[in-house]
Symmetry: D2
Subunit: 378 residues, 4 copies
């Protein structure tokens, strides 16, 4: 299964640590996604299913208030047990039971739950990849995750902009497949005309911002963004290191010089927003992004938008634990659109809404610029 | 001047303290608003103006990054000097100079700046009133601010809802008078049909939420709202005290029993949002509010909306210090609409956008409920 | 009364603020010392005494666990009421009642309590003086406390050392007057021979330490001292300011250049200890100090010793609130001996033990060096 | 080697985590002690020694300011690499080189260094054992460390006290073998007569304290002790759990009911001191302990004394890194005497001084009571 492939090159020790409160240990991701299948599906729908270890509910629960006491997130990195081997045994136990379940007749409701479980696992695959990068990339020995020998061919970035005209647009999921509840409530929005960049901002463009003293020019920053860069001594994207008078970048194959033509990644919303302001532009709203996204290629970097993460019209939080999935996070976070190079195939779609606090940058976040077409005068 | 009237019943000591990082000492408000006139108007536009005390720039500056080092906000409550009397002398000095300036011919640009300064002072009058309430309401002696003998006649609240139809609406300031830059960029939004309450939520309605265990029912709360109420042991609105088996409320005339028919006030966005969810409803967006506000009366309580504080289309941060006024705060805050009982007359308008972090409740914040008319099914 | 004399030049506002958790607002000191007389003496011993305001117990209690809930210390600076005028009225009320009590026959036990109350007030007079210095000395306007026109004649400091021979010495209070319980338990200690400086370390000597990079030389510091100077960016004594390429010092009469021959003051135990190590010497123990103190003059600066604050043999904590006076603080603090220029006349004696956490330096603390006479070889 | 024996039953994952800032991951202990031999001995004294991995200095250095940047202690639990296997390989590399060195002629100075390295490793063996207990004992699965089938025969505790007479005693190390520098400076102290308990306080005695509400009786506690128990909700010794209406204890073989006759362990200095006060007694000073320790048996529990950790007369911090070993910690800590059940054989002696901050209780700490013989009257 893909989750385990992502971990293929890890040492046992790499599965255990939690160097940041926003990172989870890989073995926790592996255990948690199986716990999700066990708790929401197997215990209710597979007759005679035997729970692998009832105390795992305590260890692998995440944010689900509906289930008793939760382990506070900061503690995940303190738990040496269950061991990695036990977690893999747990996964095999759950996988086998799921196979058994799938050989039985499946109701529609159950089918929905299974699809939900798979999508949940795909989300954690993405997190697994970024959390592993954080774990290895913050080790002073800078271990290699995977040798990447053939560099990906990338199209040389352009500075073209795509014009989108003023109109009513429909926003939200519109198909018959799976989507998360936060994409539902398809609705109409009115958008004034705008321009949006065909390509993502590159390392080279961002380097100009750095060299122009962009991190010191308060006029381009949010007040809370300034506090964040000052309190944390932020002067470059995450994983950038100034070595031998040159910017380097920690990637899966170790430390290497920054390639100027590569798309920029691992910046916070604060940095994305300040960079756009420095360019005399702005970030697109999530509605602009969705309205225009069929005119450019996307999927390499999660793209920060200028939209706060809020419910669509008509959004209703589902009852029970499933209802905790998205709605409870709809405050103080910004929307990202698109997908990234570690997003599982098939997991992305144009209506997909990801979201992070504005200071986070573990994800492969990037910047696509936008601009108003007519400036409102006064 | 009205700012000084607000302070008329204060003791000297009340001007000095800062019991919360979000509160400023009254003497700071008084000094800061005069400093604003001195710095942005008098020093540039009144020939031969003599600066009262050049070190005041250090003390009374607020968040303007453009001006050297700022006093960090938490330190305002440590400064016993300048004394209250000196601050009043400073105000008289600045007021006299402003009168002199107003006797001279005034350019359009200067006129705009003066209007800006007056509106800035009005904003601080509102803050003064709420900060004084916080200072006195958190003193164990619960001092009286002002005896209020004749209770205001209030219309008995109804539970009527006003229906607003699906349409395109124009949002933003549209007149010829003064407005803040965050109201500009008048633009069109498409709104689905919705219902909005004619009256504000009352203390009695909120008490039912409390008595139903609303503060313990996680399913109605944002995850960060839950953290906030748990970490701060929040179980009721600010200024509510459980005394002799009855809820009491600290008001300008001291501690008194909560009156059930009064509009609820001093709740955070988290509480407002949880209450609305408990009612099976929601808060209106700021666009819905503006589209419907001519059909109900408002102005008693600042009303939390479901909208994050973000720029309107076409918003451009002005150059220089004036540009720091609003744009730099456009992240992590929620919009309030309307006005409150301590808003200076003439300072409110239907396009006015106030904003606070979701956990703050020093302001006279209230709740107006809204609801979708058709639920989106799937 | 002397407490009020100390405050004679204060503005009302100066009485209110608390710029550091270890500082109390002057009005709190004034109220607290009267509360002490009221609570421990008047309420029990003056028939028909009428309590001034029963809620003052809540405001002016300090650390006495025996009396209900205490106001946590950090909150003292938030209380604008009672006003300064009310506090003075409270003091006159208590003073009048004390005079009335003193006109009645006094039991021995009551006499002891009164003497205790007076000594308690003297301790707070010392704190008042240092806290006022901190309040004014941390105001960016650097207000003058008192013009000092005639500089004190000081003996030019020497670098002489006094030799004290190996012997048994008696330590602890030995007279018939008042002393605190921590001085009791007169007992014998055996001391090896040692040398102790006749004079205190001067500013000039300490400046050499600074200029030699003493704050950067880890080998002279305790590990926790290093953490303290690094986390707080400490590079000089408190109240020293580097202005116009010269060290200045905030004193009662404002900012003035550091005088090299003056005794050093306002250093922490960590700094005192590091300086002594840099000199190749050490601080004296409190026993050495007491054994030798009749051979040098003291009383200008509280002198850090190398002794932790611990009970003497036979120490017993008194029952009830009085017992909380000293014993509960006998951990994590270092002993100071002597007295300082703000110690009330008659309050000092050679057995007096003051104590502070090793990082504090609001007091007029100084350094007297000591040295072993024979080095133990191995 | 014994260090590795201690880890014999661990899973790889147990070597990695750091659940508390005062705990180090077992693999860090293993790497650090080998690094000590490599850095202070092999690199200087074994010709042609090849450093295993120069970046290990960064990872396995501890508190030695003399060696470049140190990894702050909180980060040790974030490092998944070097792996456990690599650490063991490192140990074999260093062990082999040490064997080679030992086959060469050894100077006296080198001999001293080697003995120092062995004693350093023994100290870490003790820490290893306690840190492992903390890691496993704070895992919700409560893993077994080692099955202990045959319970140790223990002598039934008595309540006898041993009288020690007033006299001059010699304190400090007096032999020809190895000792740490903090034991040197053998010196004379004068001690009044005192009584000291023959046996350690038992669980049963401490349970009476708990059941009498000892944790709530402020009169027995230091002020900072009260803050500590309140802020951390401390109501029993570490590793005690209230399960099924009975006190249980986490031991090497898992959770088991508390045995009343066993010696109490895992209490802080604050708890030890409060318990002694509740008994109407006190803790012995380290001098009393050393003067009397040949009259009782010890070595099961580290015993808290009433003495702060300070240098003996004549103590001199050695130059260079070795000098950082002890002297820099001589502030804010209390002395423990004796040894514990996890102290390596031969590592203890009557002059040995251990030390911890007063709130720590990971060690097998215990209580031996003492009492003055004559109470000083006044």
């Amino acid at each position: 299964m893909r989750s385990e492939d992502i971990c293929a090159t890890l040492k046992t020790e790499d599965y255990v640590v939690q160097p940041l409160v926003d990172v989870s240990p890989p073995k926790w991701h592996l255990g948690h996604t199986s716990w999700f299948f066990e708790t929401f599906i197997l215990l209710h729908h597979l007759p005679d299913y035997s729970c692998f270890n009832s105390s795992y509910a305590f260890v692998f629960n995440s944010y689900y208030e509906s289930f008793g006491t939760r382990v506070i997130r900061t503690n995940r990195g303190n738990l040496s047990r269950p061991t990695v081997e036990e977690v893999y045994r747990y996964r095999r136990h759950v996988d086998a039971a799921m196979e058994q379940l799938l050989s039985l007749p499946i109701s529609n409701e159950l089918n929905m739950l299974i699809i939900m479980g798979l999508n949940h696992e795909e989300q954690h695959q993405e997190l697994l990849a970024t959390d592993i990068k954080y774990i290895l990339g913050h080790n002073p020995l800078f271990p290699t995750y995977k040798e990447i020998t053939n560099s990906v061919e990338i199209d040389f970035p352009t500075d073209e902009f795509i014009v989108t005209k003023e109109a009513l647009y429909n926003i939200g999921y519109d198909g018959n497949g799976f989507c998360f509840d936060n994409e539902l409530g398809r609705h109409t929005v009115f958008l004034p005309a705008f321009k949006i960049a065909r390509d993502l901002v590159t390392n080279g463009q961002y380097l100009e911002f750095i060299e122009d003293g962009g991190y010191l020019k308060h006029e381009f920053w949010h007040a809370e963004g300034l506090d964040w860069i000052r309190n944390n001594n932020i002067t470059s994207p995450l994983y950038w290191h100034w070595i031998d008078n040159q910017w380097h970048y920690y990637s899966a194959s170790g430390i290497q010089p920054v390639r100027l033509e590569d798309p920029l990644t691992h910046v916070s919303y604060y940095e994305a927003s300040a960079f756009a302001a420095w360019m005399g532009m702005r970030l697109p709203t999530e509605f602009e992004w969705e309205a225009a996204c069929n005119k450019f290629s996307w999927g390499d970097r999660w793209e920060w938008t200028a939209s706060a993460y809020l419910p669509y019209p008509g959004y209703i939080r589902a009852a029970g634990p499933i209802g905790e999935y998205n709605g409870k996070f709809m405050v103080n976070q910004m929307v990202l659109r698109g997908a990234s190079i570690v997003t599982p195939t098939g997991h992305s779609r144009s209506s997909y809404r990801n979201f992070f606090h504005p200071h986070l940058r573990l994800q492969y976040t990037g910047i696509r610029l936008a601009q108003d077409i007519r400036i409102i005068h006064r």
